[in-house]
């Protein structure tokens, strides 16, 4: 196993290096094009930029190679290109904010490295199930706390500590995925037991459906208290997907859809801001909404339509007519200036990232790793789908960011931590399972029967 790992590692190492260098080149290229378009000259800080980007990503590359040998070589470079393109576009839209974004990018990469350093085997996280879970929920609901909670753009999603304002939902997303991976992996047989049948669907005992209902309740709570559709939808979606992945029971999917529908209905009936989102989705281009609440969505549609197939060219369009275009709507800016070609390239990058993420989940043998990989990937995939869908008016708009590309420190940093964990999952774990944190045998150990993983005690499965 070791020899194979080494050979494999060298090949993947080479690929990752090549791809990372390519990613840096593309990012620098995009930045130069943007500055050229704006000022007609090459950026004055080009050397510093190249140095910083190369250093940051190459360090990240080496850390992956050293600390996570055999990891998937595509994950880091893809995220690098996405964040590089995002930076270039943000610079085009608002150079002041680009400075912030660059800082956060460096911070994100720092935390990326730190995560890989601190967590040598992701399975150690399996031992802190409930701690992590509680932390996740706490972070999710933190903005509700009086005093530090902030409402920005109608959503109480933010927490301000002194000058620092961040979005704890982004962190809680990662924590909750870890929690769910651990919890669902432990309980999966229980949850998968079918005692009732309704048509082709098997349902477990009502009490075992508790977790689904709790998750549903929490997402509704997020909707209620924080007035945010996006996080609520994302969380519930991730949970349902992971529950289904763990148990294989289609009934959970169906139940999830039903609960979602009920939740959506409740949300629509009870909340003006949900109704508003739906109205805007349906009627953004109607005269009475076009210049009022539907303005942002309408402008995004115009922007993309004006871009057409090849786009207006970087710096030639008018994405600035879209309010807050650097965050949620940055996709529309790409649509306008880089056209369908540019937007397809972005989508393909995400597809690559997501594909490799699922591949990593498949490559691992133990349930926790699989669920963790699948869950983290689902988080990125679903978030991307929700925001791109909202921006293109496929579905109602919700306020979440485009991973790696949108302006926003919390999102960027959290996504790089997520990436680190995903890379960790994609790398073949060390031969020995990590020591347990508690006395009780962990469910993962019980469930596993892999020859490569040595259980400390010969417990029956």
């Amino acid at each position: 196993m070791q020899a194979a790992t080494t050979l494999e590692s060298r090949a993947t190492r080479g690929t990752q290096l090549a791809l990372t260098i390519l990613a840096v080149i593309l990012s620098v290229g995009a930045y130069v094009l943007v500055v050229l378009g704006k000022t007609g000259k090459a950026p004055p800080d080009i050397v510093a930029f190249v140095a910083a980007m190369s250093a940051a990503f190459l360090i990240a590359h080496f850390v992956v190679v050293r600390l996570a040998p055999g990891a998937d070589p595509v994950l880091l470079p893809t995220a690098a290109v996405l964040s590089g393109l995002g930076y270039a576009m943000i610079y085009r839209l608002d150079p002041g904010r680009a400075g912030d974004q660059f800082g956060w990018l460096m911070l994100g990469l720092g935390l990326f490295v730190l995560t890989l350093f601190v967590i040598r085997d992701h399975r150690v996280l399996d031992g802190y199930t409930y701690t992590i879970g509680l932390a996740g929920v706490a972070f999710l609901l933190l903005p509700v706390a009086p005093g530090i909670g902030r409402t920005i753009n109608g959503a109480r999603l933010w927490v301000g500590v002194g000058p620092l304002v961040f979005e704890p939902a982004e962190i809680s997303k990662v924590l909750l995925v870890i929690f769910l991976a651990s919890f669902l992996n432990a309980k999966k047989e229980l949850l998968a037991m079918a005692t009732r049948r309704i048509g082709p669907l098997h349902f477990p005992e009502l009490r075992y459906m508790g977790p689904l209902l709790v998750a549903w309740a929490i997402s509704l709570a997020v909707l209620f208290l924080e007035k945010d559709l996006g996080s609520s939808l994302l969380f519930f979606g991730i949970f349902t997907a992971m529950l289904w992945t763990a148990t294989g029971r289609a009934s959970y999917l169906v139940l999830g859809v039903v609960l979602f529908a009920i939740g959506a209905f409740i949300g629509y009936s009870a909340f003006a801001h949900v109704q508003e989102r739906v109205t805007i989705y349906l009627h953004a281009l109607d005269p009475q909404h076009l210049h009022a609440d539907g303005y942002q969505v309408a402008q995004a549609q115009f922007a993309m339509a004006t871009g057409g197939m090849v786009g207006t060219g970087l710096g030639q369009g008018h994405p600035d007519l879209i309010p807050s275009v650097w965050t949620d709507f940055i996709f529309a800016a790409f649509g306008e200036e880089l056209g369908l070609f540019g937007v397809t390239a972005l989508l393909l990058l995400y597809v690559a990232l997501i594909g490799r993420g699922f591949r990593a989940a498949l490559a691992r043998e133990d349930g926790f790793s699989k669920l963790l990989g699948a869950g983290l990937t689902t988080a990125v995939a679903l978030q991307t789908f929700i925001i791109v869908g909202g921006v293109t008016r496929l579905i109602p708009l919700t306020g979440i960011t485009l991973p790696f590309v949108s302006y926003g420190g919390s999102s960027l940093v959290a996504n790089f931590v997520l990436l680190a964990l995903l890379i960790r999952v994609s790398a073949p774990p060390p031969a020995h399972a990590p020591t347990r944190a508690r006395g009780r045998p962990r469910a993962t150990e019980r469930a596993e029967s892999q020859p490569t993983v040595q259980t400390p005690r010969g417990e029956p499965a």
Binding site: G40, A241, W244, T245, A246, G248, L285, L290, H291, A298, Q301, F302, A303, M304, A305, T306, G307, G308, M309, T312, G317, H318, L321, G335, E336, G339, L340, V343, T344, L347, Y350, V351, I354, G355, F358, A361, L362, G367, K370, L371, G373, A374, T378, A381, L382, F385, V388, G389, T392, R393, L394
Partner: protein
Amino acid sequence: MMDRQIRRLALAFLALFAVLFAQANYLQVFASSRYANNPANQRLLLQEYAVDRGDILARDGQTVLARSRPTKGKFEYLRVYPNGPLYADVTGYYSIVFGRYGAEASENDYLAGRAPELLPQNLVDEILGRPKRGATVVTTINAGLQQVARRALGSLPGGVVALDPRTGEVLAMVANPSYDPNPLASHDPAVVRQARRALLRAPGKPLLSRASQELFPPGSTFKLVTASAALENGMRPSTTFPNPPALQLPNSTAMLHNFGGEHCLGGAAQLTLAQALTVSCNVVFGEIGLRLGAAKLVEQAQKFGFDKAIPFELPFEEGSIPPVGEFAGALSFVATSAIGQQDVQANPMQMALVGAAIANGGVEMEPHVVKEIRDADGRVVKEIKPSVFGQPISARTSAELTAMMVSVVNAGTGTAAQIPGVQVAGKTGTAETPSGKPHAWFVSFAPARNPRIVVAVVVLNGGDLGSDATGGAVAAPIAKAVIQAALRG
């Protein structure tokens, strides 16, 4: 094993992303035009205003009718009309809120630098990083003549059109009231809206050109059409007609009278066609109309372009005459139509074309106001060549009519148009209106032998002379001033 679920999850997301891709395709390819051209989408407008829009010049290539000036602000260029109201009928306007009109509209592809002929220049500009520059439109308008026409018309309501019968080039086009396109081109939508509101409320509809868009009864100038029909259908200038003091209209108790109730030519028993035109005898022409019949009259009018689509770059309402069917139950209308009353309508542009056909050996050229297009560096990229609209009358008819029109000026109702040393041909018109103040018309060309210019004038409701007005008294002097200036210069 979870693998099955994971694979399906991956496929599900692939499908979801395929849907996203489809949506992007919808927005950016299939429905792209529809969304991009939504009036609320400023982008195309902003893109358009980022172009250094081409100038519109008079035929001398120097006098500027419209140009673009760079400005600060989101709309990068401002459209300026240095002689605003003077050329408004020709230039039209270029407005953020109300779009384009007139030459600004018809030549937009060139002015905006979008026409295919401008591709090479656009490419060079792109490479050199210069802003896109539109092409220059050189009009056929003679700046000096336009000013003469404007001064001659003065503040009288009506319109003047001068064109070259050999080519169809419009040399001058003036209407009263007109408007100043400058406020309409403002970058401030409030200013634009206010200006337009004022124009829409102003009396006389300044935005509709009386020279080419509004329609009025042509009165006796239409006798040129009736006479054409007569000559084309077997009658001769020497054909005689009875000359009663008034004409008994068929199927009616009404009588057709001459101007002022007079008896043509002092009461002569018979008049020739030529004499009748010279003194503009309603009674005889009514008779001619009845003899011709509706079909031939309508047909001849249509040959001149009435009720047809005459190609012209600017908004143009062709003359109109009721269709043959309408005369079926109303024979008397044929008589009244023959003298340019009843439901016959025309404007100076239409009547100028009638005159032009007569002046040009019977060949009516298509009117055009654009002479050539030059790219931003001055190279001619398109030349508009004269084009024939049709041949409403034979060369012989045109010669005969010319002779008659010469006698109108020399000895008939148009003596006010006489110019020493130049033989002017013309026809007056004094169209009755419900208000009692007639429209004064004059259609003319000169020199009669080899005409170089056709001028058609209408002054509404008699101008200064009110109900005492006649075509000869009010309109002919204006035409004379224009012809003199044209032949001099």
